[in-house]
Amino acid sequence: MPSLDDLKKRIKSVKSTQKITKAMKMVAAAKLRKAQENAEKGRPYSQKMQNIILNLTKSINDIGNAPKLLVGTGQDKTYLCVVLTADRGLCGGFNSNICKLAKTNFQKILKEGKNLKIISVGSKGLDQIKREYGKYVIKKFSFKDKKQISFKEAEIIGTEIINLFKNNQFDKCILFYNNFKNVITQIPQAHQIIPAEIKSSESKNESSLSYEFEPEEDEILEDLLPKNISTQVFKAFLENAASEQGSRMTAMDNATRNAGDLVDKLTINYNRSRQASITKELIEIISGAESL
C-alpha cells in the first residue's frame, strides 16, 4: 500500500502529463487543419495530370515504342520501394502502420527471389526498417528542418527515382504512404508509380476525341512522365502530412482521456487511504480514552 505522500506525487505527475498531451492535441488539431487544406488544394493538380496522361496513352498506337516510364522495362527483377514516414513520433500507429505494410511487401519480394532496394524518407520509418532490412536501404532522406514540405522536396526525390530508373537500377517502383481518409482513419497504401498504373475505370467510354498534339505524343509523354513521378511523390507527401497530424491528434486525445481516468482512480485511492488513516487514528484515541 503506497503512502499518502506517494499517491499525491503520482497524481501530480499524471496531471502534468495530461497537460502536455492536451497541448499536443491542440497543436496537432491546428496543424491538421492546414495540412488538410493543403492536401485538398493539391489534389486537382495530380488528378488533372493523371487525366492528361490517360488521354495521351489512349492515343498511342504503338505500345512497343512507348516510353519505358509508362510501360516498364518488361522485367520485374528489381523492386525499388520508397517508404514515406514522419520525422516525429508520438503519433499513434502512423509510422508503424506504414512500416508494417512495407515489411510485408519486402518479405513477399524477397521470397520471390527478387532484388530489393529501399529509399526511406523520414527518420522514424528508417528506425523501424533498419533493423531487418538495413542492408537494402540505398538512400535516406529527411526533411526534419523544413517546416513545410514544398514541391521542391518532392522534385528532389522524383529526380532521384528517375535517375536510378535511367541507369537501369530497378524495374518497378512502389511508394508507401498513408492516405488521409478522415481524422480517425488513415489507410496505409502501396502505390506503384513505375510502370504507371493508369486507372481506366474513370475513362468515359471512348469519348477520347482526337487531340491535336504539339509536338508529337511521345515527346509530350517523355516530358510529362518524369513530372508525374514528382507529382505523385508530392501528393503522397501531402496525404502523409495530413495523416500524421490527424493520427497524432487522435493519439493525444486518447492519451489525455486515459490520463484523466488514471487521475480519477488515483484520487479515489488517495481519499480512501486518507479516510482509513483518520479512522485508525480515531479508534486509537477512543480506545486509549476507554482504558483510562
Binding site: 492528361i52 514541391f151 518532392a154 487531340y211 509536338p215 513530372k227
Partner: protein, 130 residues
C-alpha cells in the same frame, strides 16, 4: 450574341492559382506562341519559358518556366510548377533568376534542348525587367 468566353485554369502543385472566364489566352507553347480562342480544337502541348496572357477586361500576365497544357470542351487547363503573377512580382527575384540562367547557359555541356529553353527564359526575363 453568344458568349465568346471559355474557362481557363492555372494549377500549381500546391494550389489553384487562377480560375476565370476569358475570351482569349496567349501561351508560350514549346513550338511557338499560341493564341487560343473559344472552340479551339482539342489540344495537348507543353510550354517553354515565357508569358501567359489572359485577355479580359483587364489583361493578366503570368511568367512560367514550364508546364503542360490541355484544352478540351472549352476548358483550358495549364499545369505548371512555376508560375508568377506579373502584377505583383518581386523584381529582385526575377533578376536573380536571370543572372542564374545566364550563368547556366555559358555551360558547354548543355544539350540543344536545354539551351533552347534557357535562351527563351533569358529573353523573357529581360523583356519583363525593361
Amino acid at each position: 450574341m453568344m458568349s465568346e468566353k471559355f474557362t481557363v485554369e492555372i494549377i500549381s502543385p500546391d494550389k489553384t492559382i487562377i480560375k476565370t472566364e476569358t475570351s482569349e489566352v496567349q501561351i508560350p507553347s514549346y513550338e511557338g506562341e499560341m493564341g487560343i480562342l473559344k472552340d479551339h480544337i482539342q489540344l495537348i502541348t507543353f510550354l517553354r519559358p515565357g508569358i501567359i496572357k489572359i485577355k479580359n477586361d483587364k489583361e493578366k500576365e503570368f511568367f512560367v518556366e514550364e508546364g503542360t497544357v490541355e484544352f478540351s470542351n472549352n476548358n483550358l487547363l495549364i499545369l505548371t510548377s512555376k508560375a508568377k503573377d506579373l502584377s505583383n512580382v518581386d523584381k529582385k527575384s526575377l533578376s536573380n533568376l536571370l543572372s542564374e540562367a545566364e550563368k547556366r547557359i555559358s555551360d558547354n555541356k548543355l544539350t540543344d534542348k536545354e539551351k533552347y529553353l534557357l535562351s527563351y527564359k533569358i529573353d523573357t526575363l529581360k523583356n519583363i525587367n525593361q
